[in-house]
């Protein structure tokens, strides 16, 4: 079989590469320029921007299912958190004897719980390659099982949204429990290094940022190739007239399942990139509220465009950083207001607003 070609247009590829190159100046500025320079970015800023980029990737994942396939998942934070926990487990195993209790085999929280052996599901996480596999596999398997059950029984619309939300809530409660073996409500933290490189070092942070930027670029190109393929058109058709697609001979549930699993994998990768940059993963990442926030990012940017989702995630999170520094208790109200304003006045988000503006003044 020849390598299957998916549509990919050159101009977009060049634009993405240019943007990526510009982003890479940020860690380079941190690493090479003196602190006095105007183009020097502090390590704090690099990690903050890196975090925004992982959120952008998460928003991209949601846009694939919501914007293109019409599946309003209110539980996408679950896949992000699973990817994050898989990475967190690897980072925990990297700590080795350097924990507070100095136990070479068990993470601190297990020693604290008086556990004698490592639970079976922690085995293998000392290998980076295994962790990478789990980062993809854990969200993919959950999305597959959930999607298989939901889509085959033709649960759609509000009902589907509600059960995704319930899924998030259930997993949050489960991960809060100490007996689950994921660190309870403290989660996983106090990481020391990744692949032998100290996580507190600037260079490590810079490389993590660069890897994140590259991942976002690749994910964007992959997602774009998917939505511009024939499968992308089928998925769009499902969004607009599901039963028509079925009577054309497509197994709608399989197409939904495919895009849902693909999206969950991207979300898992985003979570895995998030954890080493913020240094912690805990059950609050499963919180239903987190999943709702992703929806708002995508709605603000404009769904069904991919880059709108990226833009929305970065803008809203920048707003959140600024806001929570000044008036932390007001943030949730601000977020709610943004959502209402966007729903009422910018149904296609900022990107849609901008496109209409350009058409009208063309």
């Amino acid at each position: 079989m020849s390598f299957p070609a998916l549509p990919l247009d050159k101009p977009v590829l060049y634009r993405v590469m240019a943007l990526l190159a510009a982003l890479l100046l940020i860690p380079l500025g941190n690493l090479l320029l003196p602190e006095s320079s105007a183009l020097h970015f502090s390590t704090y800023t690099v990690s903050l921007l890196g975090k925004y980029l992982t959120f952008a990737l998460l928003a991209l994942a949601l846009d694939l299912v919501w914007g293109y396939c019409g599946i309003l998942s209110l539980g996408h934070g679950v896949f992000f958190a699973l990817g994050g926990y898989a990475m967190g487990m690897y980072l925990m195993r990297q700590i080795g004897e350097r924990g507070v209790y100095g136990n070479p085999l068990l993470p601190d929280f297990m020693v604290f719980l008086n556990w004698q052996t490592l639970p079976w599901y922690w085995l293998g996480f000392d290998h980076f390659a295994y962790a990478l596999l789990m980062i993809v596999l854990a969200p993919a398997v959950l999305a597959f099982v959930f999607g298989w059950l939901a889509f085959r029984s033709r649960v759609t619309g509000v009902y589907l949204s509600i059960i995704t939300q319930a899924l998030a809530y259930a997993l949050m409660l489960a991960f809060f429990r100490n007996e689950m073996g994921f660190g309870g409500n403290n989660g996983l933290t106090d990481f020391k290094d990744i692949l032998g490189y100290n996580l507190q070092q600037d260079a490590t942070r810079d490389v993590l940022f660069a890897v994140t930027a590259l991942s976002v670029a690749l994910a964007y190109l992959a997602a774009r190739a998917v939505v511009r393929s024939k499968l992308g058109r089928v998925v769009l058709a499902v969004r607009d007239a599901e039963s028509r697609v079925r009577f054309l001979g497509y197994r709608v549930e399989m197409f939904k399942l495919w895009i849902f699993v693909f999206s969950a994998i991207l979300a898992g990768i985003a979570g895995a990139l998030y954890v080493p940059q913020v240094g912690i993963i805990n059950p609050s990442e499963f919180s239903p509220l987190n999943s709702l926030e992703i929806v708002i990012w995508v709605a603000v940017g404009g769904r069904g465009t991919l880059y709108g989702a990226l833009l929305g995630a970065i803008l809203v999170n920048y707003g959140k950083t600024v806001f929570t520094a000044v008036l932390p208790e007001v943030w949730l109200f601000a977020l709610g207001t943004i959502f209402i304003v966007v729903t009422l006045f910018l149904p296609d988000g900022l990107v849609g607003f901008w496109q209409r503006h350009r058409r009208e003044h063309a």
Binding site: S229, R233, V234, D240, W258
Partner: protein
């Protein structure tokens, strides 16, 4: 076979004696005790153009729902050809077997272009992975263009389907059926809401399709039915009231009572 199938269109006699392609025997569908179809028997021949008429609520749409797998009957058998038991298949499998359907309400993909609508309908491998990697071949492109021509939309191929007129959407949907290489076309109220000219063109289109395909048309518009029908089935309260030519039907006292005379 083709000589037999291509009977002159002005003949009043129904096409008979060919292989039946669709059998429905003793089919009953009830919704909360109400029988939308009641011991219905229907046989459609290969290449036939059959019109089904009947008052509102007679069960015409339900009949199409049963054939295409959307509704499961409580009782009865539905066979396609000699061997295919349609009751054991789901919607995509029935579509794949060659039974294609136009909905009562025009149903095209408004966000996609006319060309893309036809492309999605095209008879090909419709599983997920082959669809992801599908590239249009030259012959497929030509087939799409040919159907666009047949339905008179050759100059609108790049237009978004949402921008088409009501009549054009109806034709596009018929075009989508043709792309599926169907053996049986089920067409639910194709001329509802059409202008006089559009109705005439639709009549021509459907007539040109009979012969190569079996076509079942559900319609209210009597003038339209008269212009295309060779054999008419009258449905009433979920069963067949009578079958015959349009003249037979219009002169039948029972039909006059339940439908035409009303």
């Amino acid at each position: 076979m083709t000589t037999l199938l291509q009977k002159p269109l002005d003949s009043d006699e129904p096409v008979v004696g060919l292989h039946p392609i669709l059998y429905m025997e003793d089919v009953t569908v009830s919704f909360d005790g109400f029988r939308a179809l009641n011991n219905l028997n229907l046989y459609i021949d290969e290449g036939e153009l059959r019109c089904i008429i009947g008052p509102n609520g007679a069960g015409k749409t339900t009949l199409m729902d049963v054939i295409t797998g959307k509704t499961r009957p409580d009782r009865g058998t539905v066979f396609f050809g000699q061997t295919t038991d349609l009751l054991s298949l789901d919607e995509p499998a029935i579509a794949h077997a060659g039974i294609c359907r136009k909905f009562q309400k025009p149903s095209v993909f408004e966000q996609l272009s006319v060309f893309e609508n036809l492309e999605l309908a095209m008879h090909t491998d419709k599983r997920v992975w082959p669809t992801l990697f599908a590239r249009l071949k030259g012959t497929e492109r030509a087939a799409i263009d040919a159907v666009a021509e047949t339905i008179g939309l050759q100059n609108c191929r790049t237009l978004r389907a949402g921008t088409l007129s009501h009549g054009q959407k109806q034709w596009l949907e018929i075009g989508m059926l043709l792309m599926q290489k169907p053996r049986v076309l089920l067409v639910d109220e194709p001329v509802a809401g059409m202008t006089h000219q559009e109705t005439e063109r639709t009549a021509e289109l459907l007539q040109s399709l009979a012969g190569q395909h079996s076509v079942i048309v559900v319609e209210h518009d009597m003038a339209f039915v008269r212009s295309i029908a060779r054999k008419v089935t009258v449905l009433h309260e979920g069963s067949v009231l009578m079958e015959g030519t349009m003249d037979d039907v219009q002169n039948d006292p029972r039909v006059i009572q339940v439908y035409l005379g009303a």
